[in-house]
Subunit: 138 residues, 2 copies
DNA sequence: CTGGTTGCAAAGGCTTTGCAACAGG
DNA sequence: CCTGTTGCAAAGCCTTTGCAACCAG
């Protein structure tokens, strides 16, 4: 958090209470909140401001956008250890899990496609425990 | 294509010229078209019909939805060999590439999270060849 | 002070839906 | 025929934007 102040200032950006609160809220939610979930925690900050700042943070690579929200985007802080995601197809929940980084696949992809590789992502899809139980009830 | 007729009929769904054309168009486009790209090929079919049918085909698992279109969804036919995707961060293009299926990761994810696993996906991000050239020009 | 920021309301862009006319089987 | 389907226009939903008031530095 503190390390952001010089980072923003260098770029002529200001530390506003809104920006601080948005980041603190994402931190406190821990998971992968949507804009709507962030706004629910800090309803006195306008939705437009949250949208604009989340977008700004993504462009500054402070946040990462996860496009798996069924139309909505979810966000996570980038200053976290590498991990992959598992998504529940019933409730939409996203959980992190650790797995050795798939470094090889980037080399292969580069050889096969001649792309200049930047990163990769991997998601596993399934049913979380509580949705498995609910399914059993039907 | 032919194998779809009994598949739809079993479910009380009809084979309409629109449905046939939508699937043929996706086939002919080969890649991972958006709804808009499909509609551009068959503009005499209403956008609403294309949306409704694409959605129907996804629910029937004839099509798979790829949520990497920067807001738009892209679609691909499911009756294709397993493969992974590489995305160009500049132009948004999606290319398939082959890599041994990451079966192990599903077992690990199951052990770590207790999810019931259905599938997984993996995307590599980078710059395609033609966007690499363009970048060099700047 | 002064240019970046906020927040409201309006506009945008993609997608879904209500409904009357239509048509596959 | 009868129920599923089409297509228009309208509505929905999430997100972005114009702009005046505001405020961080």
């Amino acid at each position: 958090m503190q390390e952001l102040i010089p980072f923003l200032k260098e770029r002529g950006l200001r530390i506003t209470p809104q920006r601080t609160l948005i980041l603190q809220t994402i931190l406190s939610l821990k998971g992968h909140p949507t804009v709507e979930e962030i706004h629910r925690q800090i309803p006195h900050i306008s939705l437009a401001t949250i949208y604009n700042n989340v977008k700004l943070f993504v462009s500054l690579r402070i946040l990462k956008e996860l496009p798996y929200g069924n139309g909505l985007s979810k966000y996570e802080l980038t200053n976290q250890p590498n991990h992959y995601h598992i998504l529940c197809e019933a409730c939409g929940d996203i959980i992190d899990f650790n797995y050795p980084t798939l470094t090889q696949i980037e080399d292969v992809a580069n050889k096969l496609t001649q792309f200049k590789i930047n990163s990769h992502q991997m998601e596993v899809y399934g049913l979380c425990q509580s949705c498995q139980r609910k399914e059993g009830d039907d």
